[in-house]
C-alpha cells in the first residue's frame, strides 16, 4: 500500500541533476541496511525524490510499482531486512495486520485437546495441527455467487518434526524412546485440514470442525496410476496399532499403502483437490541391520534416492519395523509421490498418483491451457536434480468435476533439458518424454536399459516412474541447482503465455572440482555430483540461488519445446565474499533503492490471483555468515515484467518462510513460518526463539499462545484498510 510518506516522483528519472536515490543510499550507508545514520541532510534526501528523514528510518521507501501487462502492481514499501540481533517476531509493512492463525499442536477436529506444550501423546497429536507447516492452500467453500471469502478448508502440509521440541526430553534414544514417541513423530507429519472461518471479523481455526482432518504417516492410502501394483511397490503388510507395528506375514498389493511423510510443498488441481508432495522421505528410514547392497535393484534405487541406514537421525525404525530398510526393503518405494486428497470429504481416502513420477517432490503447479489440456510442473529438490512436467492424457472438463477425477492416472511424464541458443530466439529448452521408447544417451531405448527392463512396456513404464531420477539420468536431462517450488503466471489482463517459474534454491557443488555429472547409468548417489556451470545454472558455488522461468511453445502445455530465461540471480549487493569468475555473489535483484530487497535461497514461490509473484526464502535464518546483510528469512513480492522486487515480510529467528495462500478476493493472506528457534535443545527450547508466544499472547481468534517453546505456525495477514494484499 502507498504510505503517507511515499515519494511522489519517479526516482528513476532525475532531471534535476541532483543525486538519485541509489547514490544517496549508497553514500549514506555503506553497510547498506541501516539507511539513516544521521549523516545525511534532509535537503539531500528531499532532492532524491521527496523523501524525508523520518520516512526512511524504518522502511525503505520507493515508488509503487505500477500495473502492467498481466500484473496488478505493487503498492507497499519494502520493509528493512531483519538483521542481527534478530527480533523474535514477524514483520510486515506498515498498514498491514499480522496475527497467528494456527500453530503446531492446536486442536483442529472433534476430540482435539488444547495445546499445552510438548506433553501431548501421539493420540492427541493425531487431532492437533501437525508440526513444521509448509505448502498450503485455502479452499474456499463454494457458495451463492461463487466462492466464500470468509470460510474455507485450509489445507497445510506438515513437512517434518523437530524431535528436540516434540517431547519434553527430546528424542532421548535409547534412554527414553518408547513406541509412543515414534507414533507422535509420525502423527506430527503429514497434512492438516483446518476449517478456517471469519468470526466477528477475525479468522479462526475452528477446533471442533467436522472438516478438520489429519493425514499422518500411518493413514491408509490407495496407490494408482501407471506404477500401481508393480512388484517394487509390494512391501510387507502390517497391522498398525498405537502400540506396535505387527507383520502379518503377507505383502501389500502395490495398490494400497500407509501414510505420507516429508510433505514439503503442494499443489492443487483445477477440479478442487489438494496435492501433497513427498520430499525427503529417505530421511525417515533407517536400519540397524544390513541395508540392501547396491548390487541389488533395491540397493541401487536406494543409493540414487539417498535412502541409507543412518537416515536423518529419526529412530522410527527402532520400534516400527515398517521403516526398517533391512526388514522391509520395498517400503521406501511407496514414498516420493504426489498424493491427491479431497479437502471437503474427510472420509475420502488419499491417493498416491504414481504417473507423476517418484522423486523428492517439492510442489506440483498446474496449468490449464486454452485447449483445456492440463499439465503439472514439478521440481525435484536435491542438488543436481531435475525439473519435470506431467501432461494429462485427457482434457480438463470445466463443467463436470467428476469427469476429471482420474486425470492424474494417465499421461506423460517429461523431464527438462535446458539448452542455450543465440538471440533472438533466446535460450531453448526441450521436454524429454520418459517413456519406454525414448532413446537414452547410450543410444538405447529406455525399455532396453537394464534399470527399466520389464515383461512389457507397461512394466517398463512402471519402473521408469518408480526410478524417475534414473530415467532422467539416462536421457541427459539438465541437472539443476535444487529445483524447489514451481509457479505459473496467471494468464490475466491480456497476458496469454504459459509461463512457469521455478526457484533453484542453492547448490554449493555447482562448479566444484573434480567435476562430475549424474551417471547416465543411474549410479550416482543423491546430491553427489559436482556439475560444471551451464547456461541455466551459471553461478559456481551458487549459495544464494536463482529463479528460472520458461514459456511453453505455442502457449500449450503439451509443447515439447520452450524458451527460457533466468528471472533473477539472488545475492547480497554488499557481500564481502571474493568473487568467482561466474559468481560475484551480488546477484542482479532489481529493487529501489538498490539492495533494499536482497534475498537468497529462494524456495517458496507462488503467483497470486492478481499476477504478483511472491517468493519465500529458506536459508540459515540466523542472519549470520553469508546472511549478515540479508538477515532473517523473508518473503518478497516481484513484478514479473520489470523484475522489480519489494520485501514484504521477515521471519523470527531461524524460521523459514514457506507456504502462502489467499482468499479469493485477495484480502486475506496466510503465510507459513516453519521451525522458529531451530537448533534449540530440549533443555533450553526457547534459547533462540519462543515465537509466536514472543509476539502475541493469543491467536487472531483469541486462543491463547502459551510460551515455553517455539511453534511452527501459520499467520494470517490483512490490511488495516481492508484492501487487497500487495496492492
Amino acid at each position: 500500500m502507498k504510505g503517507a510518506k511515499h515519494p511522489k516522483n519517479d526516482v528513476t528519472i532525475n532531471p534535476s541533476g541532483n543525486e538519485n536515490i541509489h547514490e544517496v543510499i549508497g553514500r549514506v550507508d555503506l553497510s547498506r541496511r541501516r539507511f539513516v545514520q544521521g549523516s545525511v541532510s534532509a535537503t539531500v534526501l528531499a532532492s532524491a525524490g521527496g523523501l524525508t528523514l523520518s520516512g526512511i528510518v524504518n522502511t525503505v521507501e520507493a515508488a509503487p510499482i505500477p500495473p502492467s501487462l498481466g500484473f496488478a502492481g505493487i503498492g507497499f514499501e519494502s520493509i528493512a531486512a531483519e538483521t542481527t540481533p534478530l527480533v523474535d517476531a514477524v514483520r510486515v509493512p506498515l498498514g498491514y495486520n499480522v496475527e497467528t492463525f494456527v500453530a503446531w499442536g492446536d486442536p483442529i477436529m472433534p476430540g482435539g485437546v488444547p495445546y499445552a506444550g510438548a506433553i501431548h501423546t501421539s493420540a492427541e497429536q493425531e487431532k492437533q495441527f501437525g508440526m513444521h507447516c509448509d505448502g498450503m492452500h485455502f479452499f474456499p467453500f463454494p457458495t451463492r455467487g461463487g466462492f466464500s471469502n470468509d470460510r474455507g478448508v485450509f489445507a497445510c502440509n506438515n513437512e517434518y518434526t523437530d524431535e528436540n521440541l516434540l517431547w519434553p526430553d527430546g528424542q532421548n534414544y535409547p534412554a527414553n524412546y518408547p513406541m509412543d514417541k515414534t507414533r507422535k513423530s509420525q502423527a506430527g507429519h503429514g497434512v492438516s485440514f483446518v476449517e478456517a472461518r471469519k468470526v466477528a471479523g477475525k479468522w479462526s481455526a475452528i477446533p471442533t470442525s467436522g472438516y478438520g482432518r489429519r493425514i499422518t504417516s500411518n493413514t491408509p492410502m490407495k496407490v494408482s496410476g501407471a506404477a500401481a501394483g508393480h512388484d517394487l511397490l509390494k512391501s510387507n503388510a502390517y497391522m498398525i496399532t498405537p502400540a506396535a507395528t505387527i507383520a502379518t506375514g503377507g505383502q501389500l498389493d502395490g495398490m494400497t499403502c500407509y501414510g505420507t511423510i516429508n510433505n514439503c510443498a503442494h499443489g492443487i488441481t483445477p477440479w478442487g483437490t489438494y496435492l501433497t508432495c513427498e520430499e525427503n522421505f529417505n530421511g525417515n528410514f533407517g536400519t540397524a541391520g544390513a541395508a540392501p547392497s547396491t548390487a541389488t535393484e533395491q540397493g541401487k534405487l536406494n543409493n540414487r534416492y539417498g535412502v541409507t541406514a543412518a537416515g536423518f537421525g529419526y529412530n522410527w525404525f527402532r520400534n516400527d519395523v515398517r521403516f526398517d530398510i533391512a526388514a522391509n526393503q520395498k517400503e521406501p518405494n511407496l514414498f516420493g509421490w504426489v498424493v491427491e486428497i479431497d479437502p471437503f470429504n474427510p472420509n475420502a481416502m488419499p491417493v498416491k498418483r504414481t504417473s507423476l513420477g517418484r522423486f523428492k517432490h517439492e510442489s506440483a503447479q498446474y496449468v490449464v491451457d486454452s485447449a483445456n489440456r492440463v499439465a503439472f510442473y514439478q521440481g525435484d529438490d536435491e542438488r543436481n536434480e531435475y525439473i519435470y512436467k506431467f501432461v494429462c492424457a485427457g482434457a480438463f472438463n470445466p463443467t463436470n468435476r467428476g469427469a476429471n477425477l482420474n486425470l492424474l492416472d494417465s499421461g506423460t511424464l517429461y523431464v527438462a533439458k535446458f539448452t542455450s541458443t543465440p538471440a533472438p530466439s533466446g535460450s531453448a529448452g526441450q521436454w524429454i518424454a520418459l517413456e519406454p521408447g525414448t532413446i537414452g544417451l547410450d543410444g538405447f531405448a529406455l525399455r532396453d536399459n537394464p534399470n527399466f527392463s520389464g515383461a512389457n512396456d507397461a512394466e517398463v513404464l512402471a519402473k521408469i516412474l518408480i526410478k524417475a531420477r534414473m530415467a532422467a539420468d539416462a536421457v541427459g536431462a539438465t541437472m539443476m541447482d535444487r529445483p524447489e517450488w514451481t509457479g505459473a503466471r496467471p494468464r490475466i489482463y491480456g497476458y496469454n503465455e504459459v509461463e512457469i517459474y521455478c526457484t533453484l534454491t542453492n547448490n554449493n557443488r555447482r562448479g566444484a572440482s573434480p567435476a562430475s555429472v549424474n551417471n547416465p547409468a543411474g549410479t550416482t548417489g543423491a546430491g553427489a555430483a559436482r556439475p560444471p556451470v551451464d547456461a541455466a545454472n551459471p553461478a559456481a558455488n551458487n549459495i544464494y540461488g536463482h529463479i528460472i522461468r520458461w514459456r511453453e511453445a505455442g502457449q500449450s502445455v503439451t509443447a515439447t519445446t520452450f524458451e527460457w530465461d533466468i528471472f533473477v540471480q539472488c545475492g547480497d549487493t554488499a557481500t564481502t565474499r571474493a568473487p568467482l569468475p561466474t559468481n560475484d555473489f551480488k546477484g542482479n535483484i532489481v529493487d529501489v533503492p538498490n539492495g533494499s530487497a536482497d534475498f537468497g535461497a529462494p524456495d517458496g514461490l507462488w503467483f497470486d490471483y492478481f499476477g504478483r509473484l511472491w517468493v519465500q526464502t529458506d536459508q540459515a535464518g540466523n542472519g549470520l555468515g553469508d546472511w549478515l546483510n540479508i538477515g532473517a528469512n523473508c518473503m518478497v513480492c516481484a513484478d514479473p515484467n520489470t523484475k522489480e522486487i519489494r520485501r514484504f515480510l521477515t521471519a523470527p529467528p531461524n524460521a523459514e518462510v514457506t507456504g502462502v495462500t489467499m482468499s479469493p478476493d485477495g484480502k486475506t493472506m496466510w503465510v507459513g513460518l516453519q521451525h522458529p528457534g531451530e537448533d534449540s535443545t530440549p533443555a533450553a527450547p526457547t534459547a533462540i526463539s519462543d515465537w509466536p508466544a514472543s509476539q502475541w499472547a493469543a491467536r487472531a481468534d483469541g486462543t491463547p499462545l502459551p510460551p515455553g517453546r517455539p511453534r511452527s505456525s501459520v499467520v494470517v495477514i490483512t490490511r488495516a484498510d481492508g484492501g487487497i494484499i500487495g496492492a
Binding site: F141, P142, G145, R151, S209, Y211, F344, N400, R401
Partner: protein
C-alpha cells in the same frame, strides 16, 4: 426395520383411510411408500455445472433460470452452516432467487426433498406444483430457524402429498436463494397393471397391523 415397518403401516393406512387428504410433509416416510419413487440423490455425479441446460437423474429433469450444480460437494450457507463432508447434492449458484424446475417422467401424487439455503434476507423457499397441462396446482412456502454458522449438513425435509385420483403432479418448482437440495423424491402414480399388486400389499400390511394390534 420394526420402526420402518410401523411407519409404513401408519402412512399407508393413514393415506388409504384419509384418501383425499392433502398435506405438507416433513419426512420422506410421509410419501406413499408403496408407490414407485423417482429419486435424484446426486450421488453418481460430481460437480456438473448447468447454466441454461438441463440435468436428468432418476426420472427427473432439472432446469433453472440461473446456474446450478448437480453433485455439488461443499457449500457455504452462512448462518445455516455448510453442506459437505462427503454429501453430494444440488446447489443454486447465483445470488438472489433461483427457480428450479423439476419435470417428472411420471405423474406423481407427492414430492419431497431435503433442503437448506443461504441464511439471508430472503429466507425460505416456495414450492409450486403443476399438472400435465402446466396448470398450477399448489403454492407452498416453507422456512425454518437458522441452524447456526457451525451447523454441518443440517437441513429439513419438505414436500407435499395429495393422494387423490385426479391429482397429478407433472412438474414442480423450488424457488429460493442459495438453496441446496438432496434426495429429491416423487411418488409416481402406479400404472394400472401394478394396482392389484399394490392393493395386495396394502391388504397384507393391514392384516399384519391388525394382528399386532390384537397381540
Amino acid at each position: 426395520m420394526k420402526t420402518l415397518h410401523k411407519a409404513l403401516v401408519a402412512t399407508l393406512l393413514a393415506t388409504a383411510a384419509a384418501g383425499a387428504q392433502a398435506v405438507t410433509i416433513s419426512s420422506f416416510g410421509s410419501l406413499p411408500m408403496l408407490y414407485p419413487h423417482l429419486v435424484a440423490n446426486f450421488n453418481s455425479v460430481s460437480g456438473v455445472a448447468v447454466n441454461g441446460g438441463s440435468y436428468s437423474e432418476g426420472g427427473m429433469t432439472f432446469t433453472a433460470d440461473q446456474p446450478f450444480t448437480a453433485g455439488q460437494n461443499a457449500f457455504d450457507l452462512g448462518d445455516n452452516g455448510t453442506w459437505g463432508l462427503g454429501k453430494s447434492f444440488l446447489s443454486y449458484d447465483a445470488i438472489g432467487n433461483t427457480t428450479l424446475s423439476v419435470t417428472l417422467d411420471r405423474l406423481s401424487r407427492g414430492v419431497a426433498f431435503e433442503y437448506s439455503l443461504w441464511e439471508g434476507p430472503n429466507t425460505g423457499i416456495t414450492l409450486k406444483l403443476y399438472d400435465q397441462n402446466n396448470t398450477l396446482l399448489q403454492t407452498l412456502n416453507n422456512s425454518f430457524s437458522p441452524f447456526g454458522v457451525g451447523a454441518e449438513n443440517a437441513g429439513v425435509v419438505f414436500g407435499w402429498v395429495n393422494d387423490t385420483a385426479d391429482y397429478n403432479i407433472a412438474r414442480f418448482e423450488v424457488m429460493g436463494d442459495g438453496v441446496v437440495l438432496d434426495d429429491v423424491t416423487a411418488a409416481a402414480v402406479p400404472v394400472p397393471a401394478a394396482l392389484p399388486l399394490l392393493l395386495s400389499a396394502l391388504g397384507l400390511l393391514g392384516f399384519v397391523a391388525r394382528r399386532r394390534k390384537q397381540a
